[in-house]
């Protein structure tokens, strides 16, 4: 095992703890947006897709790169937009006018 590999494994292990710690206090009502929000974050595979698109120089390579870029971009853009749409609705709202007086 090389030091470089061990460094990568270190990132991996620390990220596991952070990932668990960060969401352990999320209230149930935010589970759906949270799932959707983290779903957008793994769209970072677009970085990998762009790297292979940049490396491609054969027909098969171009096809793989292109399809991977399309799929990954859909994941990123769709993920963030759909999460934002859900959360847009979570703003606190005033109760309908007149409610307080009649109660």
């Amino acid at each position: 095992m090389t030091t470089e590999l061990l460094t990568l494994i270190t990132y991996f292990v620390l990220a596991i703890f952070v990932g668990i710690e960060v969401i352990s206090k999320v209230p149930t009502i935010l589970h759906t947006p949270l799932m959707s929000g983290t779903n957008a974050i793994h769209g970072i595979i677009l970085v990998g897709a762009l790297i292979i698109a940049g490396d491609a120089h054969t027909p098969t390579g171009y096809v793989l790169g292109f399809v991977a870029v399309v799929l990954a971009t859909t994941n990123v853009v769709g993920g963030f937009v759909v999460t934002d749409r859900m959360l847009e609705m979570f703003r606190g709202r005033q109760r309908p006018a007149g409610t307080e007086e009649t109660r």
């Binding site: 095992m1 590999l5 990568l8 990132y11 990220a15 596991i16 952070v18 990932g19 969401i23 999320v26 149930t28 009502i29 935010l30 589970h31 759906t32 947006p33 799932m35 959707s36 929000g37 983290t38 779903n39 957008a40 974050i41 793994h42 769209g43 970072i44 595979i45 677009l46 970085v47 990998g48 897709a49 762009l50 790297i51 292979i52 698109a53 940049g54 491609a56 054969t58 790169g65 292109f66 399809v67 991977a68 870029v69 399309v70 799929l71 971009t73 859909t74 994941n75 990123v76 853009v77 769709g78 993920g79 963030f80 934002d84 749409r85 959360l87 979570f90 606190g92 409610t99 109660r103």
Partner: protein, 467 residues
Amino acid sequence: MSSLLLQALYLVAAALFILGMRGLSSPKGARRGNWISAVGMVIALLTTVANLLLLHKFTSLGAALAVAGVLIGAVVGTVGARRVHMTAMPQMVALFNGVGGGAAALVAVYELTFILGAHPPVAASFPSVFSIVVGGVSFAGSMMAFAKLQELMTGTPITYPGQQVVNGLVALAIVALSVYLIGFADSPIAFSGLLVLALALGVAFVLPIGGADMPVVISLLNAFTGLAVAASGFILDNFALIVAGTLVGASGTLLTLLMSQAMGRSIANVLFAAVGSPVAGAGAAAGAEGRSVRTGLADDIGTMLAYSRRVIIVPGYGLAVAQAQHVVRELADLLEKKGVQVDYAIHPVAGRMPGHMNVLLAEANVPYESLKEMDEINDEFKSTDVVLVVGANDVVNPAARNSPGSPIYGMPILNVDQAHNIVFLKRSMRPGFAGIDNELLYDPKTIMLFGDAKDSLARLVAAVKAA
């Protein structure tokens, strides 16, 4: 771009992802949290593109394809996310998750075919194989989940004798092929066979899982995609992929456990027990033969509601399917104007995903202060005049408390049975997702109002107006 600057920018992106996820843990900071993550994503992507351009990596065809790919993906993603109805949210999340898993698998296939050569070191071939298998399972499984929830196919579990054995054999074949490929393969093309097997396992694994359990599956597959992305990071030696992928893998695993906990079941039970099979439903329903329920008229129920002091509304998936969230708010507003105290009791798994019902009601401008979580409101049912159960069933079924043999035994439920009067708005006597009969429907305190939830609520609105 110097390697130092590249790493520093990836580090900024990773920190923003963590801050963003933390923001998502409170209703106030959630939307900003999502934006913070998005900014992190833009930084990571621009950094990558700038680095590739400075290194003159792209051929002109490669660059054109990458631009075209990003444009197509952006349009598809935006249109899909903007157009989807709030009720169809779970399958949309499944779809976006699946394409991410597919992308991760393709990146790994490319690496094995074009970069690593005939005998890659284990440190590179292991994560590649992992990414292909897990990404492939996530892609195919998510597409199945989408098809089931979108009702392109039946939502009930599809089972056949020996199913677990067949699935086990496919999994075993994957392990065997993986070991062979990592240890001895000299033709990179052989890795494509692995992708085919992984896709088959994804389909086979989701087939026996019922529609009600799909959110747990989607959450699990979300974690899978995260791990596949992290594995891709190991192949590409990329910090951003490893950290972001692992964050999602770890948080997604925890979220999956929290979700199955909210249903009072173990994750193994959700994934392998095929709960919601027609067989289980038929057996339980037989016990209810020949019993009668009390049906009511909308006018009478409307009058009863209008003269109550306290009403609690229990919304379920039936409300979502009927798109009745706006009418239910209209009814609640009307009752509040008459001086009735109205709250909504939200079961953790109401709708099709935890928190799904909150999103649907928020869409209809219901203030989130009126949305009460189960623990908050469960003691208040006994002092409630009328509980209006709209399209919910399993989450109010006392069998979860009283009959140890029941498939839902142990699931926390709303104490609707303690209220003075219970009104069920239901399409029919059909049991809920779990496929079991509900004693509460036959309770003398219960009145049934059959029909589409939206129509029934509209009739109640008219009746309350007249009362």
